[in-house]
């Protein structure tokens, strides 16, 4: 067994919150550059340049990339040989979020009740997805999720007869309806299969894959390829002002499902695609 102190977890989560919200990953900056080369609209090129400049300003450490520093969504892989000492894992993570959002001057965007809507003041609670894995490591990944793009997401229970075409039509409909709202160029996470909540979960998890990577299963990779091409033919463009670059990537994930079901989920992510991970 290996001991990890709760306060070590808290420190790590605090740093993840701040780093994710100030330092845009290179994969996104590379994608902006590629978009600019392909883009036919001068307005769109100007927008992409502004997003590059925004990332540069944010990196100086005074202003986060986006004022919506999101719901702190954490994916945690806890090795079965790890023991957390001096506190519980959820408490340690939430304390890290509390400290990160306060000390990092990040916006507190969480209300304690969806109907009463009183701000909790410290951006807790986090959403924590815990998975127990073999080994003696603790891997924590943060995906601060903005409200604007999350609101454009959807789960739909398709019929098995709808098949791949049904999934593709659903994703295209969702992205088309979202239009300018989720801050394109977007990243599209698609989850197919499992149960109602599995589909949504794997759609979100799909966002964490290396940007533009293909699913190793050829039939899923083919769906990704068709979706990115057709989404970028929609004309929505950066910020929805028209252009070629509506999505930076489409990632599809699948899970076994019931003989009666074909759940599908689309989780839309804005261009401020912030995620960081650490292994303790």
């Amino acid at each position: 067994m290996r001991d990890i102190e709760a306060k070590t977890v808290t420190e790590a989560v605090k740093k993840l919150c701040i780093d994710a919200c100030y330092y845009l990953n290179d994969e996104i900056l590379d994608a902006f550059r590629k978009c600019k080369e392909k883009e036919e609209s001068p307005v769109a090129v100007d927008i992409l340049s502004q997003l590059e400049e925004n990332a540069r300003i944010s990196r100086e450490g005074q202003f986060p990339l986006c004022q919506d520093t999101g719901f702190a969504v954490l994916f945690v892989e806890l090795g079965s040989d790890v023991v957390i000492k001096g506190g519980t894992l959820p408490e340690a993570i939430n304390e890290g979020v509390r400290q990160g959002y306060t000390e990092g001057f990040l916006r507190k965007s969480i209300v304690s009740d969806p109907l009463e809507r009183k701000n909790t003041g410290d951006n807790t609670p986090a959403v924590i997805h815990l998975n127990i894995v073999p080994g003696d490591k603790l891997k924590i990944t943060i995906l601060p999720k903005g409200g604007g793009s999350e609101n454009m997401s959807e789960v739909r229970m398709l019929k098995p007869a709808d098949g791949a075409k049904g999934v593709i039509d659903f994703v295209l409909e969702r992205v088309s309806k979202a239009g300018p709202n989720p801050c394109p160029p977007i990243v599209v996470g698609v989850g197919i299969g499992g149960t109602f909540e599995t589909a949504a979960f794997i759609a979100k998890k799909a966002l964490l894959r290396p940007l533009g990577s293909r699913n190793p299963k050829p039939h899923l990779a083919a769906i990704e390829k068709e979706l990115i091409e057709r989404i970028n033919q929609m004309g929505i463009g950066p910020q929805g002002f028209g252009g070629r670059c509506t999505a930076l990537a489409v990632h599809v994930e699948a899970y076994p499902c019931h003989i009666a079901s074909l759940p599908a989920a689309v989780n839309i992510e804005c261009h401020s695609h912030r995620h960081k991970e650490v292994v303790l």
């Binding site: 986060p64 507190k108 300018p180 033919q233 028209g242």
Partner: protein
């Protein structure tokens, strides 16, 4: 595509001269408010009570900034999705509000109200919040401080960048821009 310097508050003449796709640089004083502040303003109107601010000629920016670091007037301050303010906007436009700044599509009712009351809807670049913060010189809470990021604020801005999405003639840049590049 013209580049237009706008001085806020706005006049009817200012807004009537704008066309979709125009790039504007706004300087002057603007209001900042989003979901909860709008709900409170509408609740006051429903109760027949006066508003905490005079809306005549004003531009309202749909935003909830991140906290300011010491020495900065504001934190990051990009636009939020405007559609959530659609149910409230026409009543505020009827009271003389001349413009709204946000991101994302507006309802048919808001676009119609822009025509009827001579007002415009402008989009700031969503997610360019650090860049936009550089154009904000001063920020103060004018009402509802208990709402935190959702408080009603007033900001002094210099060359705040935006694009005209809905003008006073009923045009929509999101519809026309997309149609131009659709395959």
């Amino acid at each position: 595509m013209a580049e237009v310097k706008l001085s806020a508050p706005l006049t009817d003449k200012d807004v009537e001269s704008l066309n979709i796709g125009d790039k504007v640089l706004i300087s002057g004083s603007i209001l900042v408010g989003r979901d909860s502040a709008h709900k409170r303003l509408i609740d006051l109107l429903d109760a027949g009570k006066p508003l905490p601010v005079d809306l005549k000629g004003q531009l309202i920016y749909y935003a909830g900034p991140s906290p300011a670091r010491p020495g900065n007037p504001v934190g990051s301050a990009g636009p939020t999705t405007s559609g959530r303010m659609d149910p409230y906007a026409p009543r505020l436009l009827a009271l003389g509000l001349k413009g709204m700044i946000g991101k994302g599509s507006r309802s048919a009712e808001v676009i119609e109200a822009c025509k009827k009351y001579k007002a415009v809807y402008l989009a700031a670049v969503g997610g360019a919040a650090a860049l936009i913060a550089k154009s904000i010189k001063k920020a103060e809470v004018v009402a509802y401080p208990e709402l935190g990021p959702e408080a009603l604020r007033r900001m002094d801005v210099e060359n705040f960048p935006a694009i005209v999405v809905n003008d006073t003639k009923g045009n929509d840049l999101y519809v026309e821009g997309r149609a131009k590049y659709q395959k």
